[in-house]
């Protein structure tokens, strides 16, 4: 038995500051319409929690179910930082695989404040997310910059390489109706934008956005019985934790685990996230046709390409320079335009990655289609040991 995506929908990304319910309901109705399944037939709603919208955000599953009109469905809410949406999909998938649900609606939506993401108010001397700001002034972009600088010193990456990722993703997102930023970018423009955390410029770093994404999941059997057009198989959902010792400094922590007692692990956390997905799907990195990865910064996209084993460590710049990760290249990365064109709407983002791959594998990604794509992979990583990778196939 397998689980399929019967429908996908999104609200465009932007910055309006409206109630997150509005975005979520829009995405949910679009996903339901795409599937052709009636709201009354949904027996499970899983919401991606948003932590910036009060109680309604903490109980997102219930909030969306109520906004769509109570229909007696089971509800669940997931929170896993950037991996929230994938964990919500995993929850829905597990219940369908267990034969306890037939049709699940998974929704994530967010409204975000302007500027740097900062911790909640109050003094919290035991909270690393508070301490990193209070003691070190360590923002999210500063973590991204550490990874970027390491690529420069170890692999010879340049600021031009990083800018080229932005140029590529900006071009990819031009035709995407859900993207917030739809404008060509140039290397000169990226390099001329203000330096935020050396070596990352403002245009190397993704914005925070409002947005919503939703998918309708059913069993393959249900999809067949109900004549669902072009279902896409969920081949893997990896939402693993790190394995001790986690030796790569991770936002919002002030240190890594020590490797003194056990030695350095075979795989880093991000490498392990992808590997677990490949093993679950029973495929190799060479089978992947398209990838949607979490480009919180331009340089981070290069890290992900290697973490997902789409090339060897230290070779992502060569792949980029050869145009292999552009549309029409060997392994297009972020055909949606990625976070560069969307900005991050945390609880919706991992679902948005899945929506994009769904349309790619159905051949419906107009203006940004990866020709003949059969297998796609997503990847993201967030705070406190959360991360995910989803593999879809047709």
């Amino acid at each position: 038995m397998s689980v399929v995506i019967a429908g996908a929908g999104m609200h465009p990304w932007g910055k309006w500051g409206r109630d997150f319910r509005e975005y979520g309901v829009h995405a949910a109705r679009e996903a339901l319409a795409d599937s052709g399944i009636a709201w009354a037939d949904v027996d499970l709603v899983v919401g991606g929690e948003t932590v910036r919208n009060g109680y309604a955000g903490y109980v997102a599953g219930s909030t969306f179910a109520q906004a769509l009109g109570w229909n007696g469905a089971r509800i669940a809410t997931s929170y896993a930082a950037c991996a929230t949406g994938a964990q919500a999909i995993d929850t829905a998938r597990a219940r369908i695989l267990a034969g306890m649900s037939e049709v699940a609606l998974v929704v994530g939506a967010d409204t975000t404040p302007k500027g740097f993401l900062a911790p909640n108010a109050g003094e919290r001397w035991n909270d690393p997310d508070w301490l990193r700001f209070r003691l070190l002034g360590m923002t999210n972009p500063a973590y991204f910059a550490l990874y970027a600088r390491r690529r420069m010193d170890l692999y010879g990456a340049t600021s031009e390489d990083f800018a080229q990722v932005k140029v590529k993703n900006a071009r990819h997102g031009l035709a995407n109706p859900y993207a917030r930023f739809r404008k060509e970018s140039s290397v000169a423009e990226v390099l001329a934008s203000p330096m935020v955390s050396d070596p990352l410029h403002l245009l190397d770093i993704c914005a925070t956005s409002d947005g919503a994404a939703a998918v309708v999941l059913t069993s393959a059997d249900y999809a067949k019985r109900h004549g669902i057009a072009a279902p896409v198989t969920v081949a893997a959902v990896s939402t693993i934790t790190p394995t001790f010792p986690n030796t790569v400094i991770d936002m919002p922590l002030l240190s890594t685990d020590s490797s003194a007692v056990t030695g350095v692990p075979e795989r880093t956390f991000k490498e392990a996230i992808g590997q677990a997905a490949y093993e679950e799907a029973g495929i190799d990195p060479a089978d992947v046709d398209v990838a949607e990865v979490y480009d919180l910064s331009t340089a981070l996209e290069l890290d992900w390409i290697e973490d997902l084993q789409l090339c060897k460590r230290g070779e992502a710049e060569a792949l980029l320079r050869a145009g292999d990760t552009s549309l029409g290249g060997r392994i297009p990365v972020n055909p949606s335009g990625g976070l560069a064109c969307f900005g991050e709407a945390v609880p919706a983002q991992a679902i948005a990655q899945v929506c994009e791959l769904t349309w790619q594998l159905q051949g419906r990604a107009e203006g940004r289609q990866v020709e003949g794509a059969k297998v796609g992979i997503t990847a993201n990583q967030g705070l406190f040991g959360h991360g995910s990778s989803v593999i879809l196939s047709v």
Binding site: N126, G137, A142, M195, V196, S197, L254
Partner: protein, 151 residues
Amino acid sequence: MTPVIEGWFTTGAEPRLLASRCTRCSNVVFPPVPSAAGAAAFYCSNPACDGQEHDSVELSRRGRVWSYTDAQYQPPAPYLPASDPFQPFALAAVELPEGLVVLGQVADGFGVGDLRVGAEVELVVETLNVDETGERTIYRWKPVAAQEATA
């Protein structure tokens, strides 16, 4: 001068970071586990160990830069700017011989141009900010090459 946070580092001529070490498997963690009444219990982070007792150990003063960056915009609260207008400062993640990487600000007067992945740095204690109790101090990483050149 008072440390901005209790129990994270020693002061004096040769300051060091303080870590908690599991008495069963010797795994060390930084930041150290708070010892104040009501603080969270210590659970060893090594999954092969169920140790719940720890002692305090000093970490090596010198380490090697894992990576580095800076803050060219003023970070949001609860960061307290040390000056007005805001002065950019550098940050480094430093790999210590105890097998862990510790993040810290870089000593006053040094920027990303003074750093390199693999370069040696040494722990110093400097003023983070001034409040009603006086100067509050924090540990920082100082490039060793720069220090020896000026010595």
